[in-house]
């Protein structure tokens, strides 16, 4: 399951599994955000390439309008995924504490 919602101003909180089945819902939500947004990933357990596609599409759209998507609370497994996919060069990533 996946949950995604607004947190504090400028923050979107995502929890659960961002897989191919859940990516359309995540994309629909993120299509509505503007400016510079921090995606709090501290509750994100899992991401597949479908989820990476959602993040990439959102980052491209926000950068085109002067904003960006930051990723915070990223666990070790997700850091590996972002590293192997080169996303660590495309996003500001703050590891989980």
């Amino acid at each position: 399951m996946l949950a995604i919602d607004h947190g504090a101003p400028g923050i979107v909180v995502i929890k659960g599994r961002l897989d191919a089945a859940q990516s359309p819902a995540a994309q629909a939500f993120l299509d509505g955000v503007q400016g510079t947004v921090t995606l709090d990933c501290s509750g994100l357990e899992y991401i597949s390439s479908a989820g990476l596609g959602v993040l990439l599409k959102t980052q491209k759209r926000l950068l085109a309008t002067g904003g960006k998507l930051r990723l915070s609370g990223v666990n070790r497994h997700l850091q590996d995924i972002f590293g192997y996919s080169g996303f660590d060069q495309l996003f500001e990533i703050e590891p989980a504490r």
């Binding site: 599994r17 897989d19 191919a20 089945a21 357990e45 899992y46 597949s48 390439s49 479908a50 990476l52 596609g53 990439l56 599409k57 980052q59 491209k60 950068l63 497994h77 590996d80 995924i81 192997y84 996919s85 080169g86 060069q89 495309l90």
Partner: protein, 149 residues
């Protein structure tokens, strides 16, 4: 002991596949630390079968066996054309974001995370079989082989 189950070729099968994997890991006492990588590899391979095997209505069979220090998984797809997942090109992750596309990332990722991945195709049966292994040891470099027949 090998566990096996068949799943309908739909993204909606993913929760049931995750549950099956968790069930086998618990029963076979497979290191739960391997779960995210196994879930990822199965999802990427299964969703490829769903996306590119549209001519088939057959379920996809997943077999899972505990091996020393890890797990071996085989996905079998029926009535499909050859699609060698070990032969797809790597993604150029050095490209600037304007030129990045999400396509191909899944296979690119799992080739780096798994110990080995093999592809076999039975021409007469139009059957694809993908077998991969993952153990606790960090892979020094994934082994990709093709046993196409």
């Amino acid at each position: 002991m090998t566990a096996q189950r068949s799943f309908g070729r739909s993204f909606d099968s993913l929760p049931a596949i995750v549950a099956f994997t968790a069930e086998v890991f618990a029963r076979e006492r497979i290191d739960p630390g391997l779960t995210p990588v196994i879930d990822l590899a199965i999802e990427e391979l299964f969703t490829n079968m769903v996306k590119y095997g549209k001519g088939s209505n057959a379920d996809v069979r997943i077999e899972m066996t505990g091996i020393e220090g890890g797990v071996e998984v085989t996905l079998t797809d029926y009535d499909v054309d050859r699609f060698d997942v070990t032969a797809t090109p790597d993604v150029d992750i050095s490209l600037p974001i304007e030129q990045r596309r999400p396509g191909g990332l899944g296979l690119h990722l799992i080739r780096r995370l798994l110990d080995s991945i093999e592809y076999e195709y039975e021409e007469a049966l139009r059957q694809s079989r993908i077998t991969f292994r993952k153990t606790q040891a960090e892979p020094e470099g994934a082994v990709h082989t093709n046993k196409g027949g």
